[in-house]
Subunit: 353 residues, 2 copies
DNA sequence: ATGAAAGCGCTAACAC
DNA sequence: GTGTTAGCGCTTTCAT
């Protein structure tokens, strides 16, 4: 039993052909007589050889066929957001049929990140994908760039090698805000994603906002101002999760001078705001309008349908997958920008009064 | 710039040492003078050598350091379930620090599965993990077993090479059912996970139940009978999703002879049932009791807290990760069985009338 | 403590 | 159409 696994050389020997011929029999590339091919396959079966060892193939070809996806340290948090999940679904289903695998890389974020992450440092990968809003100076990104791994960056700064994929969320957000203004709303509050890596929860003052580094947060906030709106309040959520939206909703709405519209920078945050409004006995949209962005499916909000700026999440995954595949083929793909659309929903309406 | 990347040999040459010495400088294994080591490191820096190529290392060591996780074709569906996500979080965070990566493998399930899945067929991996309820005859599993990849199987049949990790869900479910009986319930309905690969939605008759192959579904159903309960109705959901639970809830509860308790085989299904009950104007638990299993956090059900059989999901991920790591070390780990606990919640109470 | 040499398993020129 | 040969980049005995 302790016999080592058969190699292509063993098969070739048993079939009475050379290794290269045996290789051709498996790869299908190159000329080979059906008869010879069959002879090799039979020998393989006899030896219970299960096909070329991927490790040998990889070394030889210089490619691992692996696309690394850097997810934050809290994978559970990332994946509780349908946004990441739908994106990943698009990515995996584009890459899979191409024979390319997705490797999950949990990179420790935050200030007190440990020195070296072995996976980031030395896992084999041909391309890496950085999820929303990656900055040049982030440690994981620096590690990868130093290694010379080409990057596909979502919604962030363009990499030295690789490309970026983004959506027109600023414009979409501006459009949505303009619609809300047209409905008569003047007191508009905004619930944002984190301003930067330190992920605070609470009201945002000018100083805090000026210190913002996360591109997505900044862009969507800019979208609000593009529509000529200066928010009466800006609240920072530490993550895109329903409970943080709920906290924000209570803070913003449980007061006499409450805003008539709350715009959240994600659908999960908006859902939390909506729940808070319900809990406070406010009618939506009669007493307060609520809107989000992402366009995820939220059946449990029924009968409400959240107003949202819809981004094509699965397409984004596909676009990233295609970009990664092209980089693997030695190409240098152009940046991709995907459009957003508006979902009107039922949660915005005329301003009260 | 078309110069190829430097190799360890280049670095050794520049440092004036042999390749093997250079190798030691990086691996740290083996005796080497600090001075020599530094010389090598300096040479590496000068050449902007970023460390040993993982592909070479992998071929040499015969290990890829990759743990494949086979997720169904619909990754989005799998990951919409917090159960998978929490599990994966536990897995990734156990494996990551060990330098082991998790490769997502989307295996086409269903009857009309395509001939060959390139990833399953030939991706490099040292161990594969099969999510809940894997059966020997499933094509992805057969492919992996044929390749000789050791398996860590969750809640399924033990593999030829590898081990299994499971929870005491049958016992937990039986306990929960017994509690419900003790509360006076006699008309108990069950909402199940899929009976088998064809994933039907609707009432389950004896024939359908007899044809069930999915271990998890069978075990939890057995748990109900262990408590001496013969369900007045069994409804099959095609996936563990809130909307399917809702459908089930409406079908089971919108009738005069409705059950007084509905036991679902997942928390997501139970949540759907709860929503349906609310929509039908039924009070929970005064008019109907609802319970699930998994123990996931469901803040949006507030103020209700779902009664549930809690399984230690992150522990499960960790246990699988540890098993995988041990298999990689050439060990042959024993099966692991993890305990369940009861979350009483607020959704079960005395039977009405 | 360092070096020489072998070889992990495979593919792709190139020659026949 | 098939065989020969030369590595891909690394680690690891085994000498020295």
């Amino acid at each position: 039993m302790g016999t080592r696994r058969p190699t292509l050389a063993d098969v070739a020997g048993a079939a009475g052909v050379s290794v290269s011929t045996a290789s051709l029999a498996f790869s299908g590339a190159g000329p080979i007589t059906p008869a010879t091919r069959q002879k090799v396959l039979d020998a393989a079966a006899a030896l219970s050889y299960v096909g070329p060892n991927p490790l040998g193939r990889q070394l030889r070809s210089g490619r691992s066929g692996i696309v690394g996806v850097v997810v934050g340290d809290a994978l559970a948090r990332a994946f509780r957001d349908p946004v990441s999940v739908q994106f990943l679904d698009g990515l995996v289903s584009t890459l899979g049929p191409l024979g390319l695998g997705v490797l999950l890389i949990p990179a420790s974020e935050g200030e007190g990140a440990p020195a070296v992450d072995p996976l980031l440092e030395s896992a084999a990968m041909d391309v890496a994908v950085l999820l929303s809003g990656s900055l040049l100076e982030e440690p994981p990104r620096r590690t990868l760039e130093r290694r010379g791994v080409p990057l596909v960056v979502l919604e962030g700064e363009p990499p030295a090698r690789g490309t970026i994929v983004s959506v027109t969320d600023r414009q979409g957000y501006a459009e949505m805000t303009a619609d809300v203004v047209a409905l008569g709303h003047r007191r508009v509050a905004v619930v944002t994603l984190p301003m930067r890596g330190d992920r605070r929860e609470g009201p945002v003052d000018a100083e805090r906002e000026a210190s913002a580094t996360w591109p997505v947060t900044r862009r969507r906030l800019a979208g609000v101002r593009d529509a000529g709106v200066e928010p009466v309040a800006v609240w920072e959520a530490p993550a895109s999760l329903v409970e943080h939206g709920r906290t924000a909703g209570h803070a913003l709405l449980d007061r006499p001078d409450r805003p008539t519209a709350v715009l959240a920078q994600s659908d999960l945050l908006a859902s939390g705001v909506l729940l808070a409004a319900r809990e406070l006995g406010l009618r939506v949209p009669e007493d307060v309008s609520v809107a989000g962005i992402d366009g995820i499916d939220l059946p449990w909000l029924a009968p409400d349908v959240l107003r949202s700026v819809v981004q094509p999440l699965a397409d984004k995954g596909r676009a990233v997958g295609e970009a990664a595949a092209r980089i693997l083929d030695g190409e240098d793909p152009e940046p991709v920008v995907l459009p957003t659309t508006q979902r009107l929903g039922t949660t915005t309406g005329r301003a009260p009064g």
